[in-house]
């Protein structure tokens, strides 16, 4: 399996590359279908959070911190705008110093005031911010204080785990050129308007208005005030973006290449056709074209999987009036999990481009967050054992379907809330449009049928699946869904710190199946707020055993095909890119 | 007569499948400058013979024998050779003009095409000018406007003349005119015959005329060929034939010829019922008052086809409608039964107003009437067998016992019941026409609108059909609007006669009065133009008419 080598980067001068790095040159990068970039402003509003928006933006306007998923334990300082943060002992305040050498394109230094500008706009307009989560940033900042030109301090409302706070909150911050952008209307004067909430609203509205003019991204003078290694040279309405080396960049991470073109494709097939004709330098193979690896390689490409910092799973709807009580039985979930032949699915159906996942923390690259239990699959594929679990709890297989014959809460009974005669017939909503997913679901259906669980599958476009499997109360009509899969591209991509407060906490917004377990809640909380280094591992192990969802193999982010002449590429599992470090070799 | 024949057919045999021997050993010769008439029973193979001269028979036909045009054997020719002959050497006027014109092109275009096909260097403009001249030659007034019209906008007679114009366009050596004047009123017919004579005189054209009208034969033919059941039973000069018919069939034919003379009217058992005075007493079968019918012409202009026509047909009365070709007779007929909406005026059918009738009422009313269309080919659904076509009114009215009834109807129009399984395109023109008649009388209607019902029938069959018609009329007492060009037939069947000219009803009155004592000029001309089936007498009449 090529999955264990996630982020197999090659450092400059890597002898394995053969040849010497060059300055200059241009590279074409293929974006996946429907990834059309449409935003460069450092504050994204809803609908503008496509992955490539972030990638492009952080080349132009440096965020405070950037993580490189190959090491999720600390930020990649070189790529950000600030030095490492300093947390107070009690974990209730953080002090940050901006890098000394960075300047905006208009010659102004990048200062703490620029961060304050960003912060003020967010604070006054948090409802319009796509990544706003109630209780989190900026709600958890009690006070923002400028210490000096380059330094500021933030007081937090409670103690937080520093790793979590840096990775999941501070990464959202991004200095913005206050001296150029603090304007209330077109042609207006620059001022300190952001310091009053009304002023901040006006400034925000003006800037967002400008950000809505996609066709002007390459020409609007506002966006020329960049501090990153690249500037926007071309930004077409169909989504083709060309980044050009920023000659005024003053940091230590200057770009090697002259231009990088991010090219949109209408379909994976179209991309593959172009790739096969050598039309892109950095592209990808659709999973089903993996057998072409040899051909592609012979054409001067390296084929490398790009693992995702994600997990893939099928939530149980614990609030479903019919099957909820069944799902609540751990032994049932265990039986189901033991029927998922993850290894074979990953190998045969995903052609080795997926990694079996056993718990809530991404399995690769293996880091310090993986719990011991999750590392070693606690529920090995074993249909006999799975079936035995059912029969030993009072289920009898009638006409191929397990039927509860011994209701009750005892050890050998079906369990609390499961009525006599209940049949194990599950309905699964799944995402359409992918052969791999279709086949995975059929495999699941097939193996579940062998232990007496009848699974009926309905596939719908991704959006419908999401619409049809909301968080719900048992009495609501919308709660009729039982199982739901939306993970063809991975179900959940984590920030650098893979804590589960958004998906597995009892009150979490995206806890679709309303999983609720007091111990799990406690562990989730600890992972974000305690400073204990084992908090994540404990959480990981517990959920791997408690099965809030069906764990499924996690597909790679993509399988890349990279020209052999292109060096310096790091395939960041968090789907970020650092094109400033790419270079061509002779 | 030593000149080599322009057209020579020797021992022609044509069969369709194993059963139909359409032509059985026919030999005919036409010399340059000679006009030969072919007469004969309907279905005797006249049209098939003529079509075989140009190789136009459907592939189902098996042809043997020799056909020579100007000494060249046509049957041996390939496509290109045939094409060179078609139109230029031998031209043909087809029997049924309605379907013979391409519906998608203007008549001007179609005539011009005939010219340009053989005169490669003729300019388009010149071709259209010539086309207009040709249309005028065949007696079409307003030829320039007609050039721009489509076939469906023309009356039957106009279409037929367009066909003639097309045929003579290239001044062919041989002209075959298959029932070329059936849809023409007698005045126009006389003009056309004059035209043919001129063509013969000027160009030495050899002309083969196929017709049922013995008057026409007497008028124009030098020689006559009589066909019967696929064979030639007699050939003679026109004088000989009329004076001394040899074959049994010829004799029968000549005795059946209707003549336009006083007292020719068939006596009917219940004539008393229909004395003019009494007819008015009952509800009239058809009452048209101030009928106006307009068609849309070019650029929204309106053409009045029927102009304030008022006409009443009493119950059981037969009214003959005669008049110029294109004068609106067919339009009156169609309007009477509600197929065309009048622009103004009213139609009362069997005592009920047609103008207001809708849906079920209209259908009920229509079931008591029936219509025979002028063009039998287009009024039969090409995808239904003859049997089904005739059975259709029976089915509509849910009358059982159809098989027997269909057989009886076929027999009454002198058709073999075996034709019921054939499709309309497998019949001769006259046979198709008889299907139309059989269909119209299937329901014992109270009113029959008959638009040229016997134009394609040879006189012997025509006599049978007219007998049948009158017999039925006696028995059932239906009223009838009888549209025809054949004044002799009108004289035979009509109680009253109405005459139309350019959309107007110019004269109307009892038969004897209109036919033998006409008030109007037009009527007088009409009567004078009617050819009589006697060569000597006809020559005299012609001289008289020309001096008129």
């Amino acid at each position: 399996a090529g999955c264990s080598s996630g982020g197999s980067g090659t450092a400059p001068g890597d002898p394995a590359n053969g040849g010497t790095p060059q300055q200059g040159g241009s590279v074409t990068f293929a974006m996946p279908p429907n990834a059309t970039p449409n935003w460069i402003f450092p504050i994204a509003t809803p609908g503008h959070t496509q992955a490539y928006n972030g990638t492009i933006r952080q080349q132009v306007f440096l965020p405070l911190y950037v993580y490189d998923g190959t090491d999720t334990s600390k930020p990649d300082v070189k790529a950000g705008a600030a030095e490492l943060p300093k947390y107070s002992e009690d974990g209730k305040s953080v002090t940050i110093t901006m890098k000394d050498d960075l300047t905006w394109a208009n010659g102004e230094k990048v200062t703490a005031r620029d961060v304050e500008f960003w912060f003020n706009l967010i604070k006054a307009n948090k409802e319009k911010w796509a990544t706003y989560n109630e209780g989190q940033f900026p709600d958890n900042i009690a006070k923002f204080t400028l210490v000096d030109d380059k330094t500021f301090t933030m007081d937090l409302t409670q103690a937080y785990n520093p790793d979590w706070f840096t990775a999941n909150q501070l990464t959202r911050m991004s200095p913005m050129p206050q001296k150029a952008w603090d304007i209330q209307e077109a042609g207006g004067q620059v001022g300190d308007y952001d310091r009053t909430p009304e002023g901040a609203k006006k400034v925000f509205d003006y800037l967002i208005g400008e950000a809505g003019k996609l066709s002007e991204y390459a020409t609007n003078p506002l966006w020329k005030v960049a501090d990153g290694p690249f500037t926007i040279k071309e930004f077409t309405t169909t989504g083709q973006v060309t980044l050009a080396k920023n000659p005024k960049y003053t940091g230590e991470d200057a770009a090697h290449l002259d231009t990088v073109t991010l090219k949109p494709f209408t379909s994976a097939q179209a991309e593959l056709n172009v790739l096969r004709s050598g039309g892109v330098d950095y592209g990808y193979l659709p999973a089903l074209a993996l057998s072409q690896q040899k051909t592609i390689e012979s054409m001067g490409y390296k084929v490398e999987p790009w693992d995702g910092w994600a997990i893939t799973y099928i939530p149980y709807n614990f609030n479903n009036p019919e099957m909820g009580p069944v799902f609540k039985q751990l032994y049932i979930r265990q039986a189901v999990q033991m029927s998922v032949d993850q290894d074979t699915i990953a190998r045969v159906i995903w052609h080795d481009q997926a990694t079996p996942g056993y718990g809530p923390v991404p399995q690769v690259p293996p880091g310090s967050y993986l719990g011991e239990k999750q590392k070693t699959n606690p529920y090995l594929f074993d249909l006999d054992k799975a079936k035995a679990l059912l029969t030993s709890h009072g289920w009898e297989i009638q006409n191929g379907v397990a039927t509860c014959t011994r209701p009750g809460g005892g050890d050998d009974q079906c369990g609390e809330g499961v009525e006599q005669g209940t049949q194990l017939k599950f309905q699964l909503l799944t995402e359409s449009g992918s052969t791999e997913t279709d086949n995975t679901m059929q495999e699941l259906q097939s193996s579940l049928s062998k232990i007496g669980i009848a699974l009926s599958i309905k596939s719908e476009p991704l959006n419908s699946v999401l619409d049809h499997s909301p968080v719900c109360k048992p009495e609501e009509a919308a709660c009729s869904w039982q199982l739901s899969f939306f993970g063809t591209q991975g179900s959940w991509y984590y920030p650098a710190y893979p804590s589960g407060e958004d998906i597995f906490a009892g009150d979490a917004g995206t806890n679709l199946g309303s999983y609720s377990d007091p111990k799990a809640d406690e562990l989730v909380k600890a992972s974000t707020s305690s400073t204990s280094p084992t908090a994540m591992q404990d959480y990981s192990s517990y959920l791997a055993e408690n099965l809030p969802v069906i764990w499924m193999p996690n597909p790679a982010y993509q399988v890349s095909a990279i020209k052999k002449t292109l060096g310096g590429v790091v395939q960041d599992p968090m789907a970020g890119m650092t094109p400033q470090r790419w270079y061509l070799v002779k | 007569m030593t000149e080599s024949p322009a057209l020579a057919i020797k021992d022609l045999r044509v069969t369709f499948g194993d059963t139909v021997r359409a032509v059985d050993g026919v030999s005919v010769e036409v010399r340059p400058g000679e006009i030969v008439a072919v007469v004969g029973e309907s279905g005797s193979g006249k049209s098939v013979t003529s079509m075989s001269t140009l190789g136009l028979l459907p592939p189902t036909a098996e042809v043997s024998g020799v056909i020579q045009v100007g000494g060249v054997d046509v049957t041996a020719l390939d496509g290109a050779g045939l094409r060179a002959i078609r139109g230029a050497e031998v031209a043909m006027v087809f029997q049924e003009p309605m379907t013979a014109l391409n519906p998608a092109f203007t008549v001007g275009w179609q005539v011009a095409e005939a010219l340009r096909l053989h005169f490669a260097d003729m300019s388009k403009k010149r071709a259209y000018e010539r086309a207009a001249e040709l249309l005028e030659m065949v007696g079409i007034q307003d030829a320039k406007r007609r050039l721009g019209q489509f076939p469906h906008e023309l009356s039957g007679g106009l279409r037929q003349r367009v066909m003639i114009a097309m045929a003579i366009a290239c001044e062919p050596k041989v002209l075959i005119a298959d029932e070329a004047t059936t849809a023409l009123d007698v005045t126009v017919q006389a003009e056309i015959l004059d035209l043919l004579r001129d063509l013969r005189a000027e160009l030495g054209m050899a002309i083969l005329v196929i017709t049922h009208n013995m008057g026409v034969v007497a008028d124009i033919a030098d020689r006559v060929v009589v066909m019967y059941q696929g064979k030639v039973v007699e050939q003679a000069t026109v004088e000989d034939l009329f004076a001394r018919p040899q074959a049994e069939y010829t004799r029968r034919l000549l005795t059946s010829v209707p003549r336009l003379e006083r007292g020719a009217h068939r006596a009917r058992a219940r004539t008393a019922l229909r004395e003019p005075g009494q007819a008015a007493a009952g509800t009239p079968a058809l009452a048209l008052s101030d009928l106006v019918v307009e068609f849309r012409g070019e650029r929204g202009s309106k053409v009045r086809a029927v102009d304030e026509v008022s006409l009443t047909i009493g119950a059981g009365e037969v009214v003959g409608l005669v008049g110029e070709s294109g004068s609106g007779k067919s339009t009156v007929g169609r309007t009477a039964i509600g197929l065309i909406k009048p622009a103004s005026g009213s139609v009362r059918l069997l005592g009920e107003s047609l103008t207001g009738a809708k849906g079920r009422d209209l259908r009920r009313l229509r079931r008591r009437c029936s219509i025979v269309f002028q063009d039998p080919a287009s009024s039969l659904d090409p995808r239904m067998t003859v049997g089904d076509c005739i059975a259709e009114p029976l089915i509509i009215n849910k009358i059982g016992d159809r098989d027997d009834r269909v057989a009886a109807l076929l027999k009454s129009v002198r058709l073999d019941p075996s034709v019921r399984a054939r499709y309309p395109h497998e019949l001769s023109g006259g046979q198709r026409q008889r299907i139309g008649i059989a269909r119209a009388i299937a329901l014992d209607p109270e009113l029959v609108i008959a638009d040229e019902p016997t134009s394609a029938l040879d006189v012997s069959v025509q006599a049978t059909v007219l007998d049948l018609f009158l017999e039925l009329q006696d028995r059932l007492g239906f009223a009838c609007l009888f549209i025809t060009h054949d004044l002799a037939v009108v004289g035979l069947v009509a109680d009253r006669v109405a005459v139309m000219n350019s959309g107007r009803l110019v004269e109307e009155g009892p038969r004897e009065e209109v036919l033998f004592d006409p008030r109007e000029d037009y009527t007088r001309r009409l009567v004078a133009s009617a050819p009589v089936p006697d060569p000597a007498a006809q020559r005299e009449r012609r001289a008289q008419r020309l001096s008129l």
């Binding site: 089903l288 074209a289 057998s291 074979t344 699915i345 045969v348 159906i349 359409s432 449009g433 052969t435 086949n439 679901m441 059929q442 495999e443 259906q445 097939s446 193996s447 049928s449 062998k450 009926s456 599958i457 309905k458 596939s459 719908e460 476009p461 419908s464 619409d467 | 459907p58 592939p59 189902t60 309605m98 469906h152 039964i337 509600g338 197929l339 209209l362 259908r363 009920r364 009313l365 229509r366 009437c369 029936s370 219509i371 269309f373 063009d375 287009s378 009024s379 039969l380 659904d381 090409p382 995808r383 239904m384 259709e392 009114p393 509509i396 009215n397 499709y423 395109h425 139309g436 329901l443």
Partner: protein, 276 residues
Amino acid sequence: MVRLFFANRLAVTGLVLLALLLLFCFVGPLVHPTDQIHTQLADANLAPGVKGHPLGTDDVGRDVLGRLMVGGQTSLEIGIAAGLLATLIGTVWGAVAGYTGGWLDAIMMRVVDAGIAIPALFLLLVSATIFRPTVTTQILIIGCVSWLVPARLVRAEALSLRSRDFVQAMMAMGGSHRRAVFRHIIPNAIGTVVVNATFQVADAILLVAYVSFLGLGVAPPATDWGAMLSNGISYTYDGYWWLIFPAGIAIILVVSAFNCIGDGLRDSFEVRLQGR
């Protein structure tokens, strides 16, 4: 006409072909029983002949021959029923509109316009979220989105047919409009109708594939030829021809069978062209 139809060698070939296909799909599984319920990942993508699979196995290890039979049942049922349904509705609708003319024609044709204007794709997507896919709902949905074309076609023919004398003649005999439409207009437009019907069946079978791709298809493990084909096509570069050709050929065979039958039908109506 029936006689004519059977005298037509092409038509009989079509009928025989269709009968064979039906036999293959509905009786075949009795002769060649396979497990189409369970996946067999260990045996995925076996080449034909290996391990007793005459046509190999698909990407989750099911016997392709058996799958062809099962898939054919769905395809044939939906294709034929939906194709005929669409042809039926469309023909009658178009004939009535064209024959009647006037405001009724205007209204009926504007309904068709509106129907065509709403992309079928969109309707399918919406219905995907409303209905659970069964063979019956599929037939109805596909039938309901595809009758618009024949309606337009037949209407165009009817428009010129209605002015023909034989229709007029029948009207003059007091025949009902119904008779005019069904006995004269439609039989005389039969060429167009039949050609369209063959396309409708093909379309329906292909549409089912499309529909499965959208997620409206019959739920797995059921399948159909179109879905098999579109799935197999992803393996073009791998050379797994047995995932592409059997389904592809099967589709072409049904389409051709219908075409032959259609041509035969057409010929038996087109009595005038015999011998040509």
